[in-house]
Symmetry: D2
């Protein structure tokens, strides 16, 4: 077994919310996966649209993985609000049934960002 | 908004199962997240152990994300078998309650690997 | 193989929002599962608290299952708002790390309530 | 807010595996949700088929909820094996892409069955 590097784009709100990090010290990390049901087997244009909406939201850090989008924010409400907008955008594209999964990991005893979670287990 | 690159280790079985790709043309992509309940708020040593077990399994490709491990395999049974071993390993470390989530995306009308799923939406 | 009946309490907002059903014809069905990490293996008092918060929310219909709580509402925002409150309540009990999963199924081409989904497959 | 009773069929393997309960004292509880992507918005015939396969499996106790099927078994391997068969059955019906989620809760410090989990939080 050997390893190679897979580079992926990590999308950041600009400017980096470094002051807010200093203030609270912890951030919520979540994972979001969405797709329409009944719009064919290829659903990537719907996922691109959901991503576009997530990128428009203020203060989110995003990482796209093969199965979901990881979202980091200062507050859960920022994530929920962005998810709601992304969800609604699929209906505006014509989808009649949309399913999503949101998993949230909110830890308040320790400072960390999404990269720290990978580092801790690598 | 701007982007930076986040490099993560993609772990491969050696040698690359390129012949099997040629044979079937599609592969199962899944996502696995596991943790003990009741062993403190820091569970990274348990996740490292689960990852160690996944890496031992034959024919899997793995990518660790902040919220889960993405697994690609030729057959669902290879994934289920590795997940079962990883799950059991947490009890052998002393955990008394273990929860996991496995999400599977099995597409058989199109050749693709885990990287293709990210490319399609980026 | 044979079947027995398992009776479970379905919790309703009072009065039943029958007019709103007539108005829109569809309702969002979701599933919510939450637990603290690091507060012991028995987490039922935390889940009871989350349920108490969900029951306080206006316009939700709830069904508790062995693995989650099914939530039906007229609007996704009602579900997200209740979930956010339930999530926060676990920290107010002293939890330092809280994980939840929310799965949403939003179908707008057909009238249905949570019971219809079970009937369709039984 | 008031409550009504929702009766649902709990499906049991026959005969009840009561001896095995006595032997080990704990059982794995899981939740399984499956659907094809790209076969229209109505997917209940696929879910019925998956349920048929789960019911054929030895030693499982099942409860259908509006968002998933709860599965209880003596061993995780029994659940994984049944899930694999159910998954494959959707392809045999013509589905070209199938997604599923399996959530497992395996607790070994306390005797319990799926009903106990509901009772503990009701």
């Amino acid at each position: 077994m050997f390893g190679i590097l897979a580079c992926q784009q990590l999308i950041l709100a600009s400017p980096e919310p470094s002051e807010s990090m200093a203030r609270k010290g912890y951030r919520v990390v979540a994972e979001f996966s969405i797709h329409p049901i009944g719009e064919g087997t290829s659903v990537s244009r719907y996922i691109r649209r959901a991503l576009t909406e997530l990128k428009k939201a203020e203060g989110l850090r995003l990482q796209v993985t093969p199965m979901a989008t990881v979202i980091e924010a200062e507050e859960l409400s920022d994530i929920l609000s962005a998810v709601e907008t992304a969800h609604e955008s699929l209906f505006s594209m014509g989808a009649k049934r949309v399913d999503f999964i949101l998993r949230v990991d909110d830890r308040r005893d320790k400072e960390r960002r999404m990269e720290d979670k990978v580092r801790a287990v690598a």
